[in-house]
């Protein structure tokens, strides 16, 4: 039984991991069992899932690192010209 019971801290860790789909089956079961009796973690999970949904919304755009590097380069060139 002690293997199945989780501390809240562990539950939150699993919940975070679950947002990135990096939990295995056993971990998910453990998390769900914990959520049945722990109100605080249910609340955290709910908010966490909501945040994940918001972030995965296609309207949230992010520049790829390569694009950023490209902008950085042109900025650096200009910075050198600027200092001369």
């Amino acid at each position: 039984m002690s293997n199945i019971k989780l501390e809240c801290q562990e539950a939150n860790y699993l919940c975070d991991k679950n947002q990135y789909k990096e939990t295995n089956f056993l971990e998910r079961v453990k998390l769900i069992i914990h959520l049945i009796y722990c109100k605080a973690c249910r609340k955290y999970t709910k908010k966490n899932v909501k945040l994940t949904k918001l972030i995965n919304n296609p309207k949230v755009e992010t520049l790829e690192n390569s694009q950023k590097e490209c902008i950085k380069e042109s900025l650096e060139k200009e910075l050198i010209n600027h200092q001369q």
Binding site: L54, N57, V60, E61, T62, L63, L75
Partner: protein
């Protein structure tokens, strides 16, 4: 002396995503948005000495960006003839000759409010990410927005996996609090 200090070396890491989202919701094209953001940084660099430190760096950059976006629309407008109301009539036989009012979007599809909210979501998210401590925002962005593997992030930043999850947890908690205040 001014309250706000200007530091171009940090501009791209700190503001590019915010500016990019701001632009995309106004020009609807990724390439153009990227160009405009780049132009904004360059223009900011050139007029750095005009920065009085009255506003934050980000506000100042946004004000430059706004001019850039207006200029962009001016430019594409002058190419196509001035002060012209452009509309494309559907060539579908079914809707041909219909008034614009008859061709409004299906109300059950998506309300204007939905899209309005959506366009600003990206700005809100990047606003909140900008408020996170540097390490947290860096890890959070790599993990959540750029979808890097846990291992790849650990290698790149030289941290352990459990370290990463603690950072992620703190970032997520802060993000939830910030988004609750500014968005939900």
């Amino acid at each position: 002396m001014s309250n706000h200090i200007i530091d171009p070396n940090k501009w791209i890491d700190s503001y590019s995503d915010y500016l990019y989202n701001y632009t995309i919701s106004r020009v609807n094209n990724r390439d153009i948005a990227q160009d405009l953001v780049q132009d904004t940084f360059l223009a900011g660099l050139k007029s750095m000495k005009n920065f009085k430190g009255e506003a934050s760096e980000r506000t100042w950059l946004i004000s430059i960006l706004k001019r850039k976006i207006i200029d962009h629309y001016r430019k594409i407008n002058s190419k196509k003839g001035k002060a012209e109301v452009r509309m494309t009539y559907n060539s579908d036989t079914e809707t041909e000759g219909d008034w614009l009012e008859e061709r409004v979007a299906d109300p059950f599809d998506k309300t204007a409010e939905d899209t309005l909210e959506n366009t600003e979501l990206g700005i809100a998210i990047h606003n909140c990410i900008g408020k996170l401590p540097e390490k947290q925002s860096q890890v959070f962005k790599m993990k959540t927005l750029l979808n890097y593997e846990t291992e790849a992030i650990c290698n790149e930043l030289d941290i352990t996996a459990s370290n990463l999850w603690v950072i992620i947890h703190r970032a997520r908690t802060a993000m939830v609090a910030c988004m609750e205040k500014n968005w939900y």
